[in-house]
């Protein structure tokens, strides 16, 4: 019995000792860093990550955690992990609207150490927005996303420039029986609706939260914009069901050739060029309509990398980020997956221009792109707006009443936020 115990103790001691020795001798172990990305991004960057690990063999090893497909679920996952404090994640790929929230809570680290003015200048102007909070950079962009107007080249010579023209052309085509619907977009009560609205709102000369921190939702231009969206439905230019459409539903209808126009992100272009699409080679891309005398606007939605505050390997993390966002990487991602690049130089790349005729349109849209309000309480503001808009679109509320109540609610949210802070 005693001998047995003794044996066990000896084996145990030996095991402990040997593991210490191995631990000591293994000082050249590579630095482990971990990045969380939504599933599509994790998949498309897989080759680049492999390449990065090859080049940094023995020094840095990057592992990608494949998050959920849905963007908001990725946010949930990241938040749950960050709330716990000691997150295993070093790098987080985040959406433009999450940035103020994460920066304000101190979950992500400023990038001052690594980013200088030169670096910022290498990025196309539109994509420079939405990376900073309180004048400090917190995020480095990987992909730009902008709202675009898709139109049918086979049905018209020129895309419409104004809201009125869009309705007029739609009605004409609908009356001629060429298309079932004029215009499909994202009318479901979710973030996409805020994106749609921001473009229309700016197109009518209005604003959501202006530079002096004032809400302007109850102004004439805002009500005009709201009215126009409602009119799309009442005039049957858009199907009634648009009030439950997100991107896939809109694309589905446009893809089958049932609609003359669609509002969507750049990813849709590649989808529409697939053999299964009924509108292959019949689609043009342009910027959103705007009232006469107003400049069109594209809502900026972009993805970029941030480094978590609690990361112990920030330098290594930055190294990985700059690799994944390099011109070469972005070029590869564009050619392979149609990701809109953020590096200014790439918009003049001959190979890329040859590959994609819409690149100049994307550049144009990026130049006029606008971010959504940059505040930690953006989610609340967007939620209020979505509710009111959804009520208007489904005929529950009068546009003017809805926008006034959106204005009041938004002001209250901002007020209570300000009160708490002081």
């Amino acid at each position: 019995m005693i001998i047995k115990k003794l044996k066990l103790i000896i084996i145990f001691t030996l095991l402990c000792f040997s593991s210490i020795v191995i631990g000591l001798t293994d000082t050249n172990k590579p630095i482990e860093i971990n990045a969380l990305m939504p599933a599509p991004f994790a998949d498309s960057t897989e080759r680049l990550v492999e390449q990065f690990n090859q080049e940094n063999k023995g020094k840095i090893h990057l592992t990608v955690t494949r998050g959920p497909r849905e963007t908001e679920s990725v946010s949930d996952m990241a938040i749950s992990s960050m709330i716990l404090g000691n997150s295993p994640i070093d790098i987080l790929l985040i959406d433009v609207t999450w940035l103020p929230k994460y920066a304000a809570t101190g979950w992500i680290s400023p990038l001052d150490e690594w980013v200088n003015d030169e670096d910022i200048k290498s990025i196309i102007s539109g994509a420079r927005q939405g990376n900073s909070y309180k004048n400090r950079e917190f995020r480095w962009p990987l992909v730009a996303d902008i709202g675009l107007l898709y139109w049918r080249k086979d049905l018209m010579q020129e895309p419409p420039k104004t809201p009125d023209a869009l309705i007029k052309i739609s009605k004409k085509l609908q009356n001629e029986g060429l298309v079932k619907y004029g215009y499909v977009w994202q009318g479901r009560q979710y973030e996409g609706l805020s994106c749609v609205y921001l473009e229309v709102l700016k197109g009518f000369g209005g604003d959501w939260l202006d530079n002096s921190n004032q809400f302007r939702l109850d102004e004439k231009s805002s009500i005009k914009a709201t009215n126009w969206l409602r009119e799309l439905i009442t005039s049957e230019v858009s199907p009634k069901a648009v009030t439950n459409f997100s991107e896939p539903e809109a694309l589905q209808i446009f893809e089958t050739g049932d609609s003359a126009f669609m509002r969507n992100w750049p990813y849709a272009w590649a989808e529409l060029q697939k053999p299964t699409s009924s509108v292959k080679d019949k689609v043009g891309v342009t910027t959103m309509v705007a009232d006469t005398n107003q400049t069109p606007t594209a809502t900026l939605g972009s993805w970029g990398f941030s480094i978590l505050k609690n990361s112990n390997n920030k330098d290594a993390a930055w190294k990985a980020i700059s690799y994944l966002t390099s011109e070469q990487a972005q070029k590869e991602l564009f050619l392979k997956y149609g990701y809109t690049p953020t590096k200014a130089k790439l918009f003049n790349d001959i190979e890329m221009l040859e590959m994609s005729p819409i690149l100049p349109e994307l550049e144009k849209a990026l130049q006029i792109s606008e971010p959504r309000p940059k505040t930690p309480i953006y989610a609340q503001l967007s939620d209020v707006l979505q509710r009111e808009l959804s009520a208007v679109l489904t005929g529950q509320k009068d546009p003017q009443k809805a926008m006034i109540s959106a204005q009041v609610s938004s002001e209250n949210i901002l007020k209570s936020a300000g009160e708490l802070r002081s």
Binding site: Q189, Y190, K240, A241, E249, I377, A379
Partner: protein, 284 residues
């Protein structure tokens, strides 16, 4: 004796009492992105906000509406299914196994399925309607009726669960009772109301209580089918609490909403129980 209860009690305290106490504590604090996630006492401000929050009351109404309709329909269908499965007929085993399928399916999968089914104009329902020459109903886009679609999804998924409970109940009723009743000149309809239903009561009660609590906290189904829209007409309390915690990073108010809905749930269950007892007294 205490040793026998201790593990269960400890378990309950750990998973139920402690979180509840913590929620209570959080609910009297400001804890949000604005406070830099620091707890600052705000002396019941959350509760006053909750009381004045129209959206909370609207969601409460919607949640109760969803719960009551879903659970009643589920009970009715479940009784029918259980009665059918209790009979002996060819292929019953296969059908029994199939019946459980919706319950076994992950909610996310089946919610996506329903979203597609109700989708306009490509979903099958709209296709059938337009084939029959009727006007499109746009169920998920209509704030007045979108909630019915969520009820349909929920009923489809959870009816098998109640049916299974009731089937177990049915099988515990001895056949003798029905035969004795038949010999006394009773019809099978009379047997249903005088023997089956009364003897199923405790099983029904389990089903109702369990489902009420579950339906009251409905989240994933609605999140996927409608996201709470259109015009927040399908938003449930759980969805609102989730929005506050995970989107707005306002944990203080989110905890208050959760506690508010917990109180509502307790009241609803009490009410359901009282009504149930009243019915029990009236019958025979």
């Amino acid at each position: 004796m205490i040793f026998l209860f201790a593990p269960a009690a400890l378990f309950l305290i750990l998973v139920f009492v402690l979180p509840l106490i913590r929620y209570c504590w959080i609910s009297v604090h400001a804890l949000s992105v604005i406070t830099n996630l620091e707890m600052i006492p705000n002396y019941g401000a959350n509760w006053i906000r909750l009381y004045n929050d129209q959206r909370f009351w609207q969601d409460s109404f919607q949640t109760i509406r969803f719960t009551v309709t879903s659970v009643s329909l589920e009970i009715l269908f479940a009784i029918a299914i259980a009665l059918l499965l209790d009979q002996r007929w060819r292929g019953r085993g296969v059908v029994r196994a199939l019946t459980i399928l919706p319950w076994a399916l992950p909610t996310t999968v089946m919610a996506l399925g329903w979203r597609w089914i109700f989708n306009t104009p490509h979903g099958p329902i709209e296709q059938i309607i337009s084939l029959l020459g009727f006007e499109s109903i746009n169920i998920l886009s209509n704030p007045n009726i979108a909630w019915i679609a969520t009820v349909i999804g929920d009923v489809w998924k959870t009816t098998p669960f109640i049916a299974l409970i009731l089937l177990a109940g049915l099988q515990s009723i001895p056949n003798d009772l029905y035969e004795a009743f038949r010999l006394e000149g009773g019809s099978s309809r009379q047997a249903l109301f005088n023997i089956t239903i009364p003897l199923l009561k405790q099983y029904l009660l389990i089903g109702i209580l369990f489902r009420t609590a579950q339906a009251f906290g409905v989240f994933d189904l609605i999140q996927i089918m409608t996201g709470g829209g259109p015009a927040s007409s399908t938003e449930s309390l759980a969805l609102y609490a989730y929005l506050n915690a995970m989107r707005f990073l306002d944990f203080g108010y989110s905890a208050t909403i959760m506690l508010g809905s917990f109180i509502l749930l307790v009241f609803s269950c009490l009410l359901a129980w009282l009504i149930f007892n009243q019915i029990k007294k009236i019958q025979l």
